[in-house]
């Protein structure tokens, strides 16, 4: 028994360390679905999309199901705390899945928010980042995105689901952003979100990618360039879809019956980016091996002949290569190493990197890329040839 007493005391000691006063009843809290970082003059503007509790069974449905609150203060932390002056509940910031950064803030300086993002324990590292292009985060939060209840949740779902559908944007979470921000030889990117109007209803749309250099946003990639960027990183997207010109057109003298469009799918790909260094000459070698299927053929000619298949594969490789080239061209034009070539050199040739790291901004725009793309056609799905083949 005497032996038990010290153990009991040890186990009971946490009662005085933490206790009921740390308790937070569910009914005293409010869920933060997403928050937005913006600036207003010299102050920071924090906006939050807060979920209104769904009604109990048998009560009327509230509409809208959220509210958006804004608060201005010299720091985001203070702005967040000052919400309590108007809000009778404690916001659960760590529940947020999405952070929207305003274009104004991104163009000004990322250091204005990167510190709070890393220091604050209530911000998760896997929260998805977006740049609001041409709108404020608060406006994004006010948009209704059926069937989702909250645009914040919708954004997180859009970026996740599109990687297997349209397959253009690579999701960037806070951890990626911090990593790209603090690592030399790679620059951050964040997908952009815009407002669009359809039949008088406002909607949101992923459009383009914000390109950063150092602590500032310097430009953007269009969707094709963005896909090029994703194609230079294995696993960034799961599947994508693209159109090529049917190789039969022009080879055989056939009249154009419907269209010369052939739609292909990229179902998986592997890419290797390797610097080739020859004395002072640096060249990047990008080898992409992908495979996919035919998803739509608007022609009537037979496309499953061995020669035709080879032609389709070549044409597809050319289309993918074009996206990559466009991305590289844009990145070099903005002088922002978003592909992480510097990092690749640092990993494979650390000594060379030591020599060139200080001159990297000068060297990067002029580095040539040797892009080799191989595309393998797997199957034409349910049909061997075009439906209208004679």
């Amino acid at each position: 028994m005497m032996r038990c007493i010290p153990i009991m005391l040890l186990l009971l000691s946490p009662f005085i360390l933490s206790g009921c006063y740390d308790k937070l009843e569910v009914s005293d809290t409010i869920v933060v679905i997403a928050h937005g970082w913006d600036i207003q003059g010299d102050n920071k503007l924090l906006s939050a999309q807060l979920a209104l509790t769904p009604p109990r069974e048998g009560q009327l449905q509230r509409d809208p199901k959220y509210m958006t609150l804004c608060s201005t203060a010299p720091s985001f932390a203070q702005a967040a705390r000052e919400l309590s002056l108007t809000l009778p509940r404690q916001p659960l910031w760590s529940m947020a899945d999405t952070i929207v950064i305003s274009e104004k803030l991104a163009l000004r300086d990322t250091t204005l928010f990167i510190d709070t993002a890393t220091r604050n324990p209530h911000i998760r590292y896997n929260v998805k980042l977006f740049v609001a292009r041409g709108v404020t985060p608060a406006e994004i939060f006010e948009v209704q995105v059926p069937p989702e209840n909250y645009s914040g949740t919708a954004l997180e779902k859009i970026i996740r689901i599109q990687t297997g559908q349209a397959g253009i944007y690579m999701p960037i979470d806070l951890k990626d952003f911090i990593y790209r921000n603090s690592t030399e030889g790679i620059e951050p990117v964040i997908p952009q979100i815009v407002l669009e109007s359809q039949k008088g209803q406002k909607g949101i749309r992923l459009q383009g990618t914000a390109v950063f250099k150092g602590h500032q946003m310097v430009g953007e990639l269009d969707p094709a360039q963005t896909r090029g960027l994703a194609l230079m990183k294995s696993g960034a997207i799961n599947s994508t879809i693209f159109n090529i010109k049917n190789p039969l057109i022009g080879r055989e003298e056939e009249p154009l019956k419907m269209s010369n469009n052939l739609c292909l799918e990229l179902t998986s790909y592997r890419v290797k980016v390797k610097p080739l260094i020859n004395g002072s000459h640096i060249k990047m070698q990008i080898v992409l091996e992908g495979e996919g299927n035919i998803v739509e053929d608007n022609n009537t000619s037979s496309i499953c002949e061995p020669e035709t298949v080879q032609d389709i594969e070549k044409e597809a490789a050319r289309a993918l290569k074009q996206d990559i080239q466009m991305c590289i061209k844009q990145a070099q034009g903005l002088n922002s190493d978003i592909m992480g070539w510097g990092l690749a050199i640092n990993r494979i040739h650390p000594r060379t990197w030591q020599k060139i790291r200080d001159y990297w901004p000068e060297i990067f725009p002029g580095i040539p890329a040797n892009i080799q793309v191989k595309y393998r056609l797997n199957q034409p799905y349910l049909q061997k040839d075009a439906f209208l083949q004679q």
Partner: protein, 516 residues
């Protein structure tokens, strides 16, 4: 035949007490007088006096208790034979041999024994035996005529299985030994009778398999049983606390079963089964806590199914123990652990509930226990009605009135169902009681509180031994070989050895090659 008249005894109570210790006198009148005092005011006692033989006129007295002795047998095999046979048998008998002659040549009963003291007379009478005393003999003859109305062998009421035997123990000890002996046809199955209880003189049966059960353990059990000085043993449950190694704990160190197959399986693993006359529950020891999750049905079905259902039961065990506590801890302290959508659902059910989550959980758990207890104790006809009223009406009304959240009702109901999955009733009692402790710790400290309460439980369990067997074995001390038959159900061909018990003599369950 006549019943004793209820005339007032002239001798005091103290005399009766001293009288019991007396030896049987050669003078039958002394014996009759003493016994009439002892059996005074016992309306069911029968004292039949008669004489033997036409010439010798030896006075005899036959005693038994009506109702617990087989009257037909007594009349047929005792009285009739004594009166008829000896009547025509007029050779002068030497007094001393007379009883022996009767035993060996006259009475056609299989169980006959000599008795010497009035105490023995009383014990046999109370057990249902008939006692014959002869004038001139300082010994008596006890005839085994025990017979009483019993329930007979019925199907188990508490430990139900789909597959497997459907008989269960009953209140009659002899039936119970028969049920075991029928399954284990070996003379190594020992069934020792110990008479415990100062007044009740209850037959307590200690059974074990001599070659398997550790000798020291059997001796220990016997020693602990014989030390009991209680006045009456009415159920095997009386013995548990006398047998337990650690007494001040809620952790039951024995297992109860009404299934003979379960008792036999326990005997085959080297344990002892203790049965009490008048109780349909056999008490099995030693036991370890993980064994409470084992149902005998696991061994009657395919091992894959048995293993899956056993895992499910372990899952149910943790749910029954921890679910309300985890729920309360997480929604009161660790909101970040809940996915947003789930949190919103929880928030919507908790909107407007006036109590903190922990109070709400305690209230509901308490209500659930009340309903369960009420359902148990109520007459069978009302029982189901109460549980329906309780579950449906009170639960639904409480949610509608906004007193409790519907999710908490779901949690408590799920917990309740999980606790019913555990096959051993006394284990589910342990879990139910521990649950309240853990719940309070969760309400006070959140998840660290839950962990601490669990640690306290584990430390206590670690300190307990059931007849020398560690209470958490084979989890602690770890025994991987046995673990495969506790967490999962090992296929029979692979069960070569019995589970280990300290001092076990024979661990081979299955001879691999040759041998017996």
């Amino acid at each position: 035949m006549r019943y004793i008249s209820k005339k007032k005894s002239t001798k005091s109570h103290m005399d009766a007490k001293n009288m019991v210790a007396q030896a049987i006198s050669a003078d039958i009148q002394v014996n009759i007088d003493s016994l009439k005092v002892l059996l005074n005011r016992c309306s069911d006692a029968v004292i039949r006096e008669f004489t033997l033989g036409r010439e010798s006129n030896t006075r005899c007295v036959l005693l038994y208790f009506d109702g617990i002795s087989d009257k037909a047998e007594i009349e047929e095999h005792l009285l009739k034979r004594l009166l008829q046979e000896l009547d025509s048998w007029d050779e002068p008998q030497e007094e001393l041999n007379c009883l022996q002659t009767i035993k060996s040549r006259v009475l056609s009963l299989s169980q006959l024994s000599y008795i010497n003291t009035l105490e023995e007379v009383c014990y046999h009478l109370n057990s249902g035996d008939a006692v014959l005393l002869l004038d001139g003999s300082n010994q008596g003859l006890a005839a085994g005529t025990r017979f009483w109305e019993s329930r007979g062998i019925q199907t188990p009421e508490n430990e139900l299985t789909i597959q497997g035997p459907k008989d269960s123990f009953s209140e009659t000890l002899r039936y119970n030994t028969a049920l075991i002996r029928r399954r284990l046809k070996t003379t190594q199955l020992k069934t020792e009778i110990l008479i415990i209880g100062r007044l009740s003189k209850t037959d307590v049966l200690l059974s074990y398999i001599e070659d398997i059960a550790p000798h020291s353990m059997v001796e220990l059990v016997k020693e602990r049983l014989l030390k009991i000085k209680l006045d009456g043993i009415l159920d095997s449950g009386y013995l548990e606390e006398f047998l337990a190694d650690s007494k001040w704990t809620i952790f039951s160190q024995v297992e109860y079963t009404e299934r003979p197959d379960r008792a036999c399986a326990h005997l085959l693993e080297g344990g002892v089964a203790i049965m009490v006359d008048g109780s349909p529950m056999a008490l099995l020891a030693p036991i370890s806590f993980p064994q409470f999750m084992i149902s005998s049905e696991d061994y009657y079905q395919n091992f894959v199914a048995g293993s899956i259902y056993r895992l499910l039961r372990f899952l149910a065990f943790f749910a029954a123990l921890l679910l309300p506590s985890l729920y309360v801890a997480i929604i009161s302290y660790h909101h970040e652990m809940i996915p947003t959508t789930l949190y919103l659902t929880i928030a919507s059910t908790r909107e407007g509930v006036p109590f903190p989550a922990v109070i709400e959980a305690l209230l509901l758990e308490l209500t659930f226990e009340l309903l369960r207890e009420a359902g148990l104790r109520l007459p069978r006809a009302i029982g189901p009605a109460v549980s329906i009223v309780g579950a449906l009406i009170i639960g639904d009304a409480a949610v509608k009135a906004g007193l409790v959240s519907s999710l908490m009702v779901v949690v408590v109901a799920f917990t309740g169902i999980s606790s019913f999955v555990i096959p051993a009733y006394n284990a589910s009692v342990i879990i139910r009681i521990s649950r309240f402790g853990i719940l309070i710790a969760a309400g006070l400290m959140g998840l660290p509180g839950v962990i601490m309460a669990l640690l306290l439980m584990l430390i206590r369990m670690e300190n307990i031994k059931s007849l020398g067997k560690p209470y958490l074995s084979p989890l602690s001390p770890i025994n991987t070989a046995q673990l495969s038959d506790v967490l999962l159900r090992r296929p029979w061909p692979m069960s070569v050895q019995r589970p280990h018990l300290p001092g076990m003599l024979n661990r081979t369950r299955q001879k691999q090659k040759g041998g017996l």
